[in-house]
Structure formats: C-alpha cells, structure tokens
Symmetry: C2
Subunit: 315 residues, 2 copies
C-alpha cells in the first residue's frame, strides 16, 4: 500500500487533516504527517520513503525531488503550483497535480460581498441601489462563474456569459444566456472577469469596452490585473462618474487612479490589498481533502485528470 | 373621478413618478403634483381639493388635515407613519396607510452585504470564512425574512425561523425550519433579528442568549436597537473574541463597546451610521408605485388592507 506524506509548513485546519486521515485510512494507505516544520532538513528526511505527497505553498525544489527516491505523485492543495520546481519533478518522472475549483465558492462570495458593498456605498448611511433585477455578464464560464450564477439567481439578476471554450448549450445549461462577442458582455451593468492572463487576454479590457457599459456600471476583476488596460481604465475614471471598479488585486497604477479620482478613490476603485478570493478556511480545507482523493484515484484508477505536467515536458 | 395629490418635499425618482402617473391615467384619476416644495403654505393650498394623497416623509399635521376638506385617504410611500398626525387624521375620518414590504429586499441585501464583509474581514487581505453551509436563524418571519431565506438558499445556508404569529407550516412553506423557542434561535451561527420594538421585545436579546451561540457567532440587527440588552452585549464583547455584531443602526453605547473592543471595534461591532436598510432607489420607487396602487384599490374595491388607523381610534 502506498506511503503518503502530508508535508505542510503551514498546516491545514484540524478538520481538514481529520478528513485527509480518514480518506487514507479507508483506502488502507499509510499516512505520515510533517506539519508546521521549520527546517528544510526535516522535509528532506520525511520524503525519503514517500510515494505520494500532499503539499500547500511548500517549496518543493530539485533537492526535495532528489531526496524522494520513491515519489510518484505530488498534489498541491490549491490552484497555484509556482512553489514546485515543475522541471525537476517532471525530470524525476513525478506526476504533479493541483486541486482546481476548490476555491470557486470563496471567490464568488468575495465578488458578491464587494458588489453589495459598492451598491450600498460602503455602508456610509446614504441611499444606494439593489442588485435585484440587474444584469451581470461573466467573461469565462468555469467553476467560479458557476458559483456566481447560483448566487446571482437568488438576487434575481439576469446572467449572461461568454466563454470561447464552451458551446452555447453548455453555457445555457450552466444557467446563463450565451453571448457571442466581448462587446456584448459590456451591455450589462455588472461585468465580472474570469479569464486567465494570456497573450490574448492581456490588456484586452479596454477603455472603449468599459465606456460602452450602461449606467452605474461596475467592472469586477477577481481574475488577474494584467487583463485590464490600466491606461484606458484611468481614462474611464476621468470620464465616467457612475463607474466603479472592484478588484481582488491591487492595480499597478493605483496611485494614478487615486490622482484622477481624489476623494472618490476608495469607493470607485475598490480593491483588496492582496489577493484573497481563495482565502477562506473552507477553500483551504476543500483543497486538502481533494488532494487526498486525487492521490487515491491516481493509485487505484490511474486518474491523472488534474496533472499539470506531461512526461518529458520542458518548462 | 378622484383627485389625487402627490405631495413630496423630497420627490420620488423620475422613473417612479412616471409609473405613478401611468397608474392614475389608466384608472382615469386626476393627478396633481407638488414636488420638492419649500413652504408649508404650498402644501396647504395644494391639498384644498385633494381626495387622496401620496406623501413620503412629509409632515402631515393637523393643519394639513384641516385644510384638506375632501381628503379621504393618505398613503405614506414607505413603512413609517411617524411624520403623520395619526390622531388628527383619524378625527377627520381619513384612512391612513403605509406601504409595508416594499423595502424588504433592500434590507435583506444590506444584511447579506454586511455578513459577507464580516466573513471576509472587511476585505483586508486576510483569510476569512464562507457563508456556504452555515446556519442562519431568523427571529420573525415576515417580508424581510422571506427575502433573507431566498438569498441564504443560494449560499447553501440552512435556515430556521421563529415567529409567534405564524404556524409552523407557514414558516416551512416560506422555506425555513420552524423553531419553538428563542433559545433555539441562538444555536445558529448567524442570528438575524426581524422583530418590532415592543414592551415584550425590548432588551429581550440578552447576554445569556448570545453566549449560547456557536463558534464565530454573528448577530445581525436590521430591526431596532431597543431589542438588544446593550449592557449584556458589552459583556459578550468582553468575553467572546469570536463574536461579531452587525447592526443597521448605531448602538446607544457605541462608546462603551469601543472601550471594551479597542482596535477590534470597527470589525467586531459593525454598524451603519444611520438606518439605511430601506435606503435604495428601488425601495423608494416601489413604495411610490405601491401607494398609487393602494389608492386605486381603495376607491375601486374599498381595499383597506394597509390601513394603520381605525375609525374613532385614540393614539
């Protein structure tokens, strides 16, 4: 039976650890735990006989892969794998996985919290507006957007979505009206971005698009700051007093926006100091449990759905 | 055909006025508008031949009733009728109505916005928690609570409610689990108050009840500050670091709470500077349109469902 190591410099919550333990006990696997370790040497010693490993933001370097002679799989409990040396792992024939989608609800709840805060003027006592009956367009229709659709429906919002990787009927099945162009997105009062930062999407949200938005327009960015054309956004701030930007990441030109917006800055350009969409105890715990399930499925069913590296791949 | 006066010191939004006009045109009634008036004399002159009247927070005094010889009905677009001299109106045989329930969604959205803001640490970048899967108990199961239930369901919250004026099956039909005692309410992580301030409810939310609440407890008060035993609440603040109070009204002893909570005050005792639950453009507009409908129903069908005074009543 495979030997699994749970190596977390910052441990999962006790509840999540309990569920991870239960999963491996059920599968009959041996689980070793190295939690809240302080020195790299502890990790190097612990991995020596591990065949599978669950990590969080732990630095899994070439040195770790070299020390882990039996290692077949590493699963990052979470989405980002930038703390893992993918080249070293691939060269050592280790399957590397993440646990996508486990933080989708956390991101969607953050978006709605910030939308309500904006609609009610940051609870300053003045009259605001309701989300009820308003239009919401989602750019990208993956896991976060599906959570957005569910919450939006309770507010009686009309929801549309654009996703070049999905068929119109798939978007419809998810509960949104399928759109066919980026321009159509910006006919909604709320536009929420759920796209990766790629060569195609970088700076793709332009001044012209945002200026098309209807009255009391609100652009929500829980994705990546790079997708925004910030020079264009600055012009929008200068020319539209009814426009609000909500972001789960500090814009590069926050100082420039502040200059244009003056004392309206904190309400019209409303962002978190650092990315926190996925930062809930539930999302972290979900990711740990998903990692345990993926390890069992890998050994039992050779399931590599969430693998992020290919054999022989060059990074 | 009845002559209606729309007398609003602070006018409804243009959209609402348009709908009010359309309603009376359809009914064949004559509508006079006195909007954004400055002096009481203008109002006294305008009411002289009015048979029905729509008002907002306008002071409808004995002098106004005396000047309105033909007046049969006054409808306040909104819930509160404390700006109307109920005794003088009743003595003049005028039916006085409010438009309850028109701001329910506005209140529920405010509550959820503040709940999400609390759960995510006021968007300060630190890890919070999700509403998903948590328990919410509603004290009172009227119009606001029904909106709360709808929104809570999209967050996969389990909702229970206590309402001494409803049968268990009515609460069940509204989508919540019926409770039988106040104590049971405080077994939920979120408790939201939707009760009036009466002799029975004043100071009824005690230290003992709040101390019963489970981990990360959150008490939401969009009702009236008087229902809270503030001395008890202060003790809770002193003894429970995981408890948050959300209120759509400034507590009387805000200064005392601040003393106990120190730099945790703004997050753990989170309140609006003045009551703003009903303060949305939609709620105001809904109230205006509802007032127009109620006037037509009064004349056409003798419908007095929303009457707040009884003939001969002493206030």
């Amino acid at each position: 039976m495979p030997k699994v190591l749970l190596a977390t410099e910052k441990a999962f919550a006790a509840d999540a650890v309990g569920k991870i333990e239960a999963r491996f006990k059920e599968a009959g696997y041996e689980l070793a735990k190295l939690e809240n370790y302080k020195a790299k040497d502890e990790l190097l010693a612990a991995v020596a006989d591990a065949e599978a490993m669950i990590v969080r933001s732990d630095a899994i370097t070439k040195e770790v892969f070299d020390a882990a002679k039996n290692l077949k799989i590493v699963v990052r409990g979470g989405a980002g794998v930038d703390t893992i040396d993918l080249q070293a792992g691939t060269d050592a024939n280790v399957v590397i996985m993440n646990t996508p989608g486990q933080n989708s609800n956390a991101v969607a709840e953050l978006a709605f919290g910030m939308m309500l805060t904006t609609a009610r003027n940051h609870y300053d006592g003045t009259s605001g507006f309701e989300l009820k009956g308003k239009s919401l367009a989602l750019y990208g229709c993956g896991a976060v957007s599906r959570c957005m659709i569910k919450i939006a429906s309770a507010f009686d919002m009309t929801v549309s979505a654009l996703d070049p990787y999905l068929k119109p009927e798939q978007i419809e099945a998810a509960g949104a009206k399928p759109l066919t162009s980026i321009e159509q997105l910006f006919e909604s009062q709320f536009v929420s971005l759920h796209i990766p930062a790629t060569d195609e999407t970088k700076k793709s949200i332009t001044e012209a698009l945002i200026m098309k938005m209807p009255k009391n327009a609100c652009l929500i960015n829980t994705a990546r700051k790079e997708v925004i054309d910030e020079a264009g956004l600055k012009n929008v701030f200068a020319n539209r007093a009814d426009f609000t930007y909500i972001a789960d990441v500090q814009p590069d030109d926050a100082a420039g926006f502040k200059e244009v917006l003056g004392d309206k800055f904190s309400k019209r350009c409303f962002f978190t100091p650092k990315k926190m969409g996925a930062q809930t105890s539930e999302a972290n715990n979900n990711a740990g449990v998903a990692a345990a399930n993926q390890i069992v499925d890998f050994f039992e069913k050779n399931d590599v759905r969430f693998q992020v590296n290919k054999p022989g791949q060059k990074f």
